[in-house]
């Protein structure tokens, strides 16, 4: 009984590597993609930076030059063959493009502001629309792929690239498009590193979500793109589908989560409703798990409220992956959806690196080591500033 939207391809890059293969190898090998932050960022912390020199942009994209644009190109180019197939199948105008980002190319705006202070003018290479604007990220993917369907950026801070799945599902359900490239792209900048430092939540060490030894978060950068296509004979999916998406607002505080995890619980409940999946059918959760005490406490409460009365034998595997990549902000939701998809495909769970020793007060059994387990119904949470919550439900194809 088909009801989900098949995933037909994905791509990712982040602190674990420049290619999807490197990223997933790192994830399942338990290898952290975190390094000490460059001193120019001004904070003694660790970050998940895409390693190595980023390939230069194609000449047609030079005007978009920025770290954001290079990461965007890095994640898009490997997906072009699959996108070409989707264009032939549906028509380029029937494939949408919905990308999450929180800060886009603001690292360039930081440099431009200082350049203006020192020289009285903005750098010649800087334009508001190509370096600073959120929408430039969509323009770059559009130029690389020739996609001609509706396109926009979702920017709701750390839930951005989880909410792209909700928007894509709406557009497909309404018949506006037949396929959507969804994803998220964010790049390291002073604004987020020093901004989170001002909130006193940055960890001086590699982050340890759900561990009693946690000291806060690390900021990461990177990108993930996922191609969703309407079910039709001849559409070869990877065996994983988007079943549902749940969104909610905490209506509580701009930065602090609801003290009982209300918004997170409601988002998960609504994802299950949208996918027609009962709570006792869920066998894995990829938690938001940033590495702050408040996140871990409230998200654990939400999970215990929703799944606490499971019968024996219905194990719920909880996996926290920000110890690999850092918190990729507007790219986190899509990246963790790729992690979940790979988990379902491989029939094995990654370990939650850094989570041991577990904080016993949370009341959750978090997966510490990689192990074999075929999961079929998996939630992935992203919780953000403004109380913006989303939970994405992916499942194995029937």
């Amino acid at each position: 009984m088909p009801s989900g939207i098949p995933i037909t391809a994905y791509s990712a890059c982040n602190g674990l590597g420049q290619t999807t293969a490197e990223v997933l190898d790192g994830l399942f090998a338990g290898r952290r993609g975190l390094t000490l932050a460059d001193p120019s960022l001004g904070v003694p912390t660790w970050v998940g930076a895409v390693p190595g020199e980023l390939p230069p942009l194609d000449a047609s994209l030079r005007a978009y030059e920025s770290r954001q644009a290079r990461i965007c190109a890095l994640v898009t180019i490997p997906l072009i063959p699959a996108i070409e197939r989707a264009k032939r199948r549906w028509g380029a105008g029937r494939v949408g493009l919905i990308v999450g980002t929180s800060t886009a190319g603001i690292a360039e705006s930081e440099r431009a502001w200082a350049h203006h202070r020192d020289h009285g003018q903005l750098p010649e290479s800087f334009t508001l629309e190509r370096q600073h604007a959120l929408y430039a990220t969509v323009e770059i993917v559009r130029r690389l792929t020739g996609l001609r369907g509706p396109g926009y950026v979702v920017s709701t801070a750390c839930s951005s690239s989880g909410k792209v799945f909700a928007s894509a599902r709406r557009l497909i359900a309404a018949g506006v498009v037949d396929a959507v490239v969804v994803g998220g792209v964010d790049s390291l900048c002073k604004l987020t590193v020093r901004g989170f430092a001002s909130l006193e939540v940055l960890s001086p060490d590699p982050c340890r979500p759900f561990s009693s030894e946690r000291r806060g978060i690390n900021i990461g950068e990177g990108a993930a793109l996922i191609l969703l296509e309407r079910r039709r004979p001849g559409v070869e999916g990877i065996g994983v589908e988007l079943l549902g998406v749940g969104e909610s607002s905490d209506a509580h505080h701009m930065t602090a989560p609801h003290p009982e995890g209300l918004g997170a619980r409601v988002a998960m409940e609504r994802a299950l409703l949208g996918g027609g999946v009962a709570a006792d059918e869920v066998d894995q959760i990829n938690v938001h798990g940033t590495g702050t005490t408040k996140n871990d406490e409230t998200e654990s409460q939400a999970i215990r409220q929703l799944f606490g009365d499971r019968r024996p034998g219905q194990a719920l595997s909880v996996v926290a992956t920000k110890g690999y990549t850092g918190h990729m902000l507007g790219a986190a939701g899509a990246t963790e959806a790729v992690f979940v998809a790979a988990t379902i495909e491989r029939g094995e769970l990654p370990g939650s690196v850094g989570a041991g020793p577990l904080d016993p007060t949370l009341g959750l059994e978090v997966e510490l080591e990689r192990r074999s387990r075929a999961t079929r119904r998996v939630l992935s949470n992203s919780l953000a500033f403004g109380g913006s919550n989303v939970s994405v439900l992916l499942g194995a194809s029937e």
């Binding site: 009984m1 088909p2 009801s3 989900g4 939207i5 001004g42 978009y64 029937r94 603001i106 705006s109 502001w113 903005l122 508001l128 629309e129 600073h132 604007a133 959120l134 929408y135 430039a136 969509v138 323009e139 130029r143 001609r148 509706p150 396109g151 926009y152 979702v154 920017s155 801070a157 909410k163 928007s167 599902r169 497909i172 359900a173 018949g175 604004l191 020093r194 901004g195 001002s198 909130l199 309407r230 079943l243 909610s248 607002s249 905490d250 209506a251 505080h253 701009m254 918004g263 409601v266 409940e269 299950l272 409703l273 949208g274 996918g275 999946v277 953000a384 500033f385 403004g386 913006s388």
Partner: protein, 331 residues
């Protein structure tokens, strides 16, 4: 099979063991041909530094220029009464303007503030706050304001709206470049088609501050549209002032030949490929003029629907056309 209930709307669903029509429909074959999405437009709100509400703008002759002096308006701060003074003190012009427009739209449309969904569309979002942060970041040893940091996110206004109104529904904040009008409507109307209810679609910008200022940037403004899957019920006191209009968004040729507003396509076309900043306010003002022209259910509604072509980018195939129609009043 087990029953599932939406914790916010009370909507019932069922698990995959049984037939779930809503989930089913998503996996089915594409709809052929023209796509048309419809919503009842029940209320509109506007705030600009010169025109604190729609009536003031209409009284001034519904001008293109929003930054001209308007008589009797000396307060550049949007009132944003919904926000508690403790919250309001911390918020930007954009957030207050959007909140002010929201209040006007739902007061007219008669929606419940705690159960509408918010869709915010903006190219540059909290740009004043963001540029202030850039100045702080330019000093490697200086302090960075944590309040300004969390108030710089694109979804700041919707965050404050949900907090101030105790609203737990979904809210989103998007950016569509030259397509801000059409993608805002697509996101909103697709949501109404999916789950019904009420959406307030907000469009807002702040004038881009130095050193990034641009002559082609939109002025400071906020426009709010209360869109609903239900027509207003004039028998209900809170809906008695609602607009009796229906907004339709369609692609292809379904409305070919209907008077396309001049100036819209050209204004948007200047934003193609990042050459110049696209304008969002121009097509919005065309829409508001059509709404104002429609009067309060009076005979002044044009016999032909007004169409706004919200597209014109060769990189995007579908041209989405917005039309307004005299709606069926409920009751």
């Amino acid at each position: 099979m087990s029953a599932l209930t939406d914790p916010l709307t009370g909507t019932l669903g069922v698990s995959r063991g049984a037939t779930s029509e809503r989930a089913e429909s998503i996996g089915l074959a594409p709809r052929e041909g023209v796509v048309e999405l419809r919503a009842h437009l029940r209320g509109v709100g506007i705030w600009t530094p010169s025109y604190p509400d729609l009536a003031a703008w209409v009284a001034a002759g519904a001008p293109d220029k929003l930054d001209g002096a308007a008589p009797g308006n000396a307060d550049p701060r949007p009132p944003a009464k919904l926000l508690h003074s403790r919250l309001r003190r911390r918020t930007s012009t954009l957030t207050r303007a959007a909140v002010t427009a929201l209040e006007a739209a739902i007061e007219q449309g008669g929606a419940s503030l705690d159960s509408v969904r918010f869709v915010l569309v903006s190219s540059f979002g909290e740009i004043e706050t963001t540029v202030e942060l850039l100045s702080q970041l330019a000093d490697p040893d200086g302090p960075v304001s944590p309040t300004k940091f969390h108030n710089s996110v694109h979804n700041t206004a919707t965050g404050y709206m949900s907090i101030a109104s105790g609203n737990h529904r979904e809210a989103t904040a998007i950016a569509g470049g030259p397509h801000n009008l059409d993608v805002g409507l697509l996101e909103s109307l697709a949501g109404l088609a999916e789950v019904g209810g009420d959406v307030v679609l907000l469009f807002a910008e702040e004038l881009v501050p130095a050193p990034f200022q641009r002559p082609d940037a939109d002025p400071t403004f906020a426009v709010a549209l209360h869109l609903s899957s239900e027509a207003a019920d004039p028998g209900r006191p809170e809906q008695a002032r609602s607009l009796g209009l229906e907004l339709r968004l369609s692609n292809g040729d379904s409305v070919a030949g209907v008077g396309i507003a001049s100036g819209i396509a050209s204004g948007i076309a200047s934003g193609v490929g990042g050459v110049g900043l696209p304008t969002m306010i121009e097509p919005l003002l065309q829409l508001l003029r059509a709404v104002a022209g429609a009067g309060d259910g009076a005979a002044s509604m044009p016999t032909q629907p007004l169409a706004l072509t919200a597209g014109g980018d060769p990189g995007v195939e579908s041209t989405w056309t917005v039309t307004l129609h005299r709606g069926e009043r409920g009751g």
